[in-house]
């Protein structure tokens, strides 16, 4: 029986057993809804939601984990620009989808890029390269801060997470205005309800907004019109403004705490021209993060001269932060 919004009862309304059964049905439907992409503890459990998010912070000497989910267990710097991210393997299979955003650009004048290798269910290796100088195309393995999100296959078996309640039948419940002939149904219902509520609150607010580092708190798509950045679509992001060629500042509202993670991606140019053939890099250096702003550095490759330059272009980003 599907979820049905019930009308409120008033004093002396008779409670038919069908009312109680619809309450049970509503609860079962809510549970089924929750089970689709959440686990028994209320954590997210769908491929689309990152299983873990964190930052590998390069302090110039070593890497440190920060702003991370506990299931990222440690970092191991193999050599310059090569970092092993060790995971709690019970949460992952080798089939996973990593996302990496370089949050460093060293001197803030050259682009950094990354690629990854999934070594096992417990280890991902991130490789970072930096351009030697803008007037060229020579890259070298270089250490740098990066954000990482790991999307993994669902891991819990599908099943009922609450105690089943046998439907009431005529005569065994709801005598007069009470259901005191079988208190177990009511008590089980109440316990289930509290349980489902608790699971929902694990990674959502009471209003249903997501409230976990694994889900972005804000995101935006911004288009460069030649003089300013237009917000194509934003959520929990205030504005974006140019600072200097190839450098834009995104303002975010209250509610973010550093360190947070920004995943940025160059977008096709919607207004300046329709070409998408550019090779571009976007970096969002952690050194420029504050609780209310972060800067986005953009670089474009000019294949006619085999060189890079800072340039404004369209981009999109999502921001992950600690739950409130």
């Amino acid at each position: 029986m599907a979820f049905v919004t019930l009308t409120a009862k008033v004093r002396k309304n008779p409670f038919a057993f069908s009312l109680l059964n619809q309450l049970f049905a509503n609860q079962r439907d809510n549970e089924a809804l929750q089970n689709v992409e959440h686990d028994r503890a209320g954590r997210h459990n769908g491929l689309e939601v990152a299983r873990a998010v964190g930052t590998a912070y390069w302090n110039g000497v070593s890497y440190a984990l920060e702003g991370h989910s506990s299931i990222i267990s440690s970092l191991n710097r193999v050599s310059a620009g090569v970092v092993e991210v060790n995971l709690n393997s019970s949460y992952f299979q080798t089939k996973m989808v990593p996302r990496v955003s370089v949050m460093d650009n060293g001197t803030e004048s050259v682009p950094y890029i990354a690629h990854v290798a999934v070594n096992s269910a417990s280890k991902v290796t991130v490789y970072i390269h930096a351009l030697a100088a803008l007037a060229g195309n020579t890259w070298a393995a270089t250490d740098g801060t990066f954000a990482i999100a790991l999307h993994a296959m669902p891991y819990d078996p599908v099943g009922s997470f609450v105690t089943a309640i046998t439907d009431a039948t005529r005569g065994n419940t709801l005598g007069g205005n009470t259901i005191n002939t079988d208190v177990r149904k009511w008590n089980t219902f109440v316990q289930n309800q509290a349980n489902l509520r608790s699971r929902m609150m694990a990674e959502h607010t009471s209003a249903g907004a997501h409230n976990a580092r694994e889900v972005a708190k804000g995101a935006g798509v911004f288009s460069w019109d030649g003089a300013a950045y237009d917000s194509i679509d934003v959520q929990n992001v205030t504005s974006c403004a140019p600072i200097s060629t190839g450098r834009a500042r995104v303002t975010i509202p209250a509610g973010y705490t550093t360190p947070y993670q920004v995943f940025a991606q160059a977008d096709y140019r919607r207004q300046i021209d329709t070409s998408w053939a550019d090779l571009t890099v976007v970096n969002v250096p952690r050194s420029q993060h504050t609780a209310t702003t972060f800067d986005v550095f953009m670089y474009r490759y000019d294949d006619s001269v085999n060189q890079w330059a800072r340039q404004y272009f369209d981009f999109a980003c999502s921001i992950h932060t600690a739950p409130t």
């Binding site: 989808v97 690629h115 999307h151 109440v190 309800q193 509290a194 009471s206």
Partner: protein, 184 residues
């Protein structure tokens, strides 16, 4: 009415109408909370000669969560040089497969087309990340197309570039990559 925890009862407890109302409201509050950023009912899509599930009960419905993520294993299939329609399969896809199709097309070296469904034209963007095991210098570019002349329906075109250490320039190349697609 906001959620309020209800009391357990014992035999002969007189359960009043307020408790029953609160019980119903609690379930409704839970439902409404999930409705904020999840689909609370499935919606089928019928058209163009096929049917599919546009909105799946319980799935996430948020601008802040990827509509789909996928690893594309170009290295596990034999690609025909010069082919414009070589098809390969994703290694893994979004579980319900409703946004990114399970197959894509290789247009040319380093150029792949991923068919999409049920995305908002305005807000789509796609993160791309190269796979690799060492010193490669690789960059993935993505572009969303609401419509392509060669085939109907929305698409993402992915271009894979790698720096050629001999020439010192970026050139198209085939390698595995990951994508995360966002949309309203």
């Amino acid at each position: 009415m906001a959620y309020a925890k209800l009391p357990l009862i014992i035999q002969d407890y007189g359960l009043g109408f307020q408790s029953v109302n609160q019980a119903a409201d609690n379930e409704q509050a839970l439902r409404d909370a999930y409705d904020a950023e999840h689909y609370v009912e499935s919606v089928a899509f019928l058209g163009f000669g096929f049917s599919s599930v546009e909105k799946e009960f319980g799935a996430h419905d948020s601008f802040l969560i990827p509509r789909a993520v996928a690893s594309v294993k170009t290295s596990t299939v034999t690609l025909t040089t010069g082919s414009t329609s070589t098809v390969f399969w994703f290694d893994i896809i979004s579980p319900n497969g409703r946004v990114i199709s399970a197959q894509a097309t290789r247009i040319a070296t380093g150029v792949y087309v991923l068919p999409l469904a049920f995305v908002d034209d305005q807000s789509v963007w796609v993160e791309g990340l190269p796979r690799g095991t060492g010193s490669q210098v690789r960059i993935v570019s993505t572009r969303y197309f609401a419509q392509m002349s060669s085939s109907p329906g929305p698409r993402v075109v992915v271009r894979l570039m790698e720096r050629n250490s001999s020439s010192g320039e970026f050139e198209p190349a085939d390698y595995d990559f990951d994508v995360a697609l966002f949309s309203r």
